[in-house]
Amino acid sequence: MPDYQELILIRLGEVALKGLNRNKFINRLINNINYRLRDLGKYKIYQDQSRIYLENRKNVTEAFPTNEILKRIKDVFGYVSASPVRRFVADEVVLFEQVEKYATELFAQLDSFTFKLETKRINKKFPLRSYDVSSKLGALVLEKFPNTAKVDVHNPDYTLYVEIRDDIYLYHQIEPARSGLPVGSSGKGMLLLSGGIDSPVAGYQMASRGLNLEGIYFHTFPYTSDQAKQKVIDLAKRIGDFSGKFHLHIVDFTEIQLELNDKVPANMLTVIMRRMMMRIADQLAAKRNINCLITGESLGQVASQTVNALMCTNHVAVRPVFRPLIGLDKNETIAIAKNIDTYETSILPYDDCCTVFVAKHPKIHPSFLDCEQAEKDLELDDLVKQGLEKIETIIV
């Protein structure tokens, strides 16, 4: 048995500032963390003030899989950083032994390094004061590594953190996290996924504000291939890493698309197609008890994303449509896509329906009247119904 306990310290950010609902958020976060660890094992996870601790259950003799846990919770929203920590009894002699051991493991292989100690003494019963603890432990490290260690209090290679509470906590690593709110704490959103760069990023952004997600994808086989569908499934899987269990609804949109192609003037085709998609998504959301829609639209990016075009697509949905990328430059979106590992999948070369059925000169500033006229020959309710009937739902 080691004479210390390994654990992971998770620091809450925004969540800790919540008022009466605070525990709801924290419990949600704990649930989400447990969900990521579900097939790894069961761990003791508990909250203490603005922190969550994660450690082996009592009497468990197996090693605590620190790195694996850190890897798995990396994409969980709702905390600001995590540290692998050693905990031992608040005793002066033990503290010195443990720091010596920790420093040896950390520094023995290094040719040279700079360091500092940072001590917090919350437990005022501990006989040494913070400053004394830091300086004595600093001296200990210098003595142990006389040729390689150097103190640098401003910009050290390593900071050893010592927190003296009921027990003592020792660590040096602080892994920054994705922050945000725990998914599920804001409810659920229906993400319109296309397979391009933008919509996965939009999903990620909204998941970071606490939304669980479901996705809807409009498949127009044979105009879009089954590889294009697979690509969307792959993207959905990745988004699910952030947003949790992910239902992807694949609408067979071909007949509707052909009908639109037949009856809608070419210059209005894209806007009307998007209105159809929005109607179907909105009604599917209603069925699934979801109260908002999410798209990857960015103002002015293409003809269907002008203010007027957005007004036209927005108009057919009852639910609010969240467009987290609306003010982002394409490069900013690409940077996020790269950061969340969706970019390489998104740029795979399979066409989506938007690129197949695209007019040479689409109407850039359509009005409601334009839309009404363009839709006059369509049996809208039937088409929406048809779309809702032809849905394949998969859990990715």
Binding site: P222, S225, D226, L258, P349, V356, F357
Partner: protein, 382 residues
């Protein structure tokens, strides 16, 4: 499955599988070993090289076995660049090359400071000879590397004319011919052709995958790409696979023997395909459309009313294999680039389907293919 993608790979025929299996059982010793079975393996390789040389009309020691055409092309191009001959650090090529060539040249451009001059294609997809002449007249090159039969369009480049221009302006300039689509499609006489290097992929004529050839004329010096045990006159180290080499010789022999007969059959099939498309009143256009010299195996056909990817998707679920000349928005696709060079109006380069035939395709299969195309157009044309 009905298979119309013989340009991508030719399916292995039964007799080849049997031959290969027999070889694997009997002829699988290390040809570098000096006991009887090893010596037999070495002799088998030597006999295979002789047979291949006879069929390709060159000398056995001018044949190097590789893992495939990509390795052959890399060896040819980098082998010249690394050879001890004096260098101009310039290579001349065409806009119709396969990525095995273009990516190798890009590597030389980026890592070895090479200047790559690229001759455009004309409307038929053939190299622009006037431009080639200007380049040869004005610049000195280390290598001219060019594709013989274009893998997307089937267009044949006029090698005799290219060699004549080279002889006129830069007699010493070695020519490397990407002959991947040549074997089994055109008669080939390597020693008469007047080129120095040629790369071949053998699964394109129905061997197992994993073997290619590099032809290197005796007077041409290249540095090997792969170093090791010194096999194949140190030009390509690595233990040879005697069974695979023997199978290659067997397939090349067969291909050469039946070439005239096969060509006649495929010509007929290709004409039949056209007549059926006409009969079904399908709107289509051959690319290249005029009298350009093309091999009958590769039929690049443009359907103006439907994108090739859509058509391919429909045919795929009907268990018919074809390919698209253009992988749509695949920016990395060289094929797409080649079709773009044709400067078709609109986005018509995305409407070209490649139907590639072999002599064992049947009229019934073509009937079925045309019916399925016709149905797809009726339902999905936009």
């Amino acid at each position: 499955m009905q298979y119309f993608d013989h340009t991508a790979t030719k399916l292995i025929e039964k007799d080849v599988i049997e031959f290969y299996l027999k070889q694997l059982k009997a002829n699988n010793y290390n040809p570098a070993a000096i006991y009887a079975s090893g010596l037999e393996a070495a002799e088998s390789i030597s006999n295979s090289a002789k047979s291949i040389a006879k069929n390709l009309e060159c000398e056995p020691d001018e044949i190097i076995f590789t893992s495939g055409a990509t390795e052959s092309i890399n060896t040819a191009i980098k082998g010249i660049v690394l050879s001890p001959n004096p260098k101009t650090k310039r290579i001349l090529t065409s806009a119709g090359e396969h990525s095995a060539t273009t990516e190798t040249l890009k590597f030389l451009e980026q890592k070895m400071d090479y200047q790559i001059d690229v001759c455009d294609l004309d409307a038929n997809g053939q190299i622009n000879l006037d431009q080639l002449e200007r380049y040869l007249k004005n610049e000195k090159y280390d290598l001219l590397t060019i594709i013989h039969v274009n893998n997307v369009l089937g267009t044949i480049n006029p090698i005799e004319k290219i060699v004549a221009l080279r002889n006129q302006y830069q007699k010493e300039l070695p020519i490397h011919l990407d002959s991947v689509q040549t074997l089994g499609k055109l008669e080939l006489n390597l020693s008469k052709l007047g080129i120095e290097l040629a790369s071949f992929s053998l699964h394109k004529i129905g061997t197992p995958k994993g073997i290619g050839l590099l032809y290197k004329s005796r007077n041409t010096r290249i540095e090997p790409l792969i170093h090791g045990g010194g096999q194949q006159n140190s030009l390509r180290s690595g233990t040879e696979n005697p069974a695979l080499v023997a199978t290659a010789a067997y397939v090349i022999e067969k291909t050469t023997k039946f070439l005239t007969e096969d060509l006649a059959k495929i010509n007929k099939l290709s004409n039949y395909l056209t007549s059926q498309l006409d009969q079904a009143k399908i709107n289509y256009q051959y690319i290249p459309s005029n009298d350009a010299e093309v091999v009958p195996h590769i039929n690049a056909i443009l359907f103006p009313n439907l994108r090739a990817e859509t058509l391919l998707n429909v045919l795929n679920i009907k268990d018919i294999a074809v390919s698209i000349g253009s992988a749509c928005s695949n920016k990395k696709s060289k094929q797409n680039e080649i079709l773009k060079k044709l400067q078709l109006p609109g986005q018509m380069d995305k409407h070209i389907l490649r139907i590639s035939l072999a002599s064992n395709n049947t009229k019934e299969e073509i009937n079925d293919l045309v019916t399925k195309i016709s149905e797809a157009l009726a339902k999905y044309a936009v």
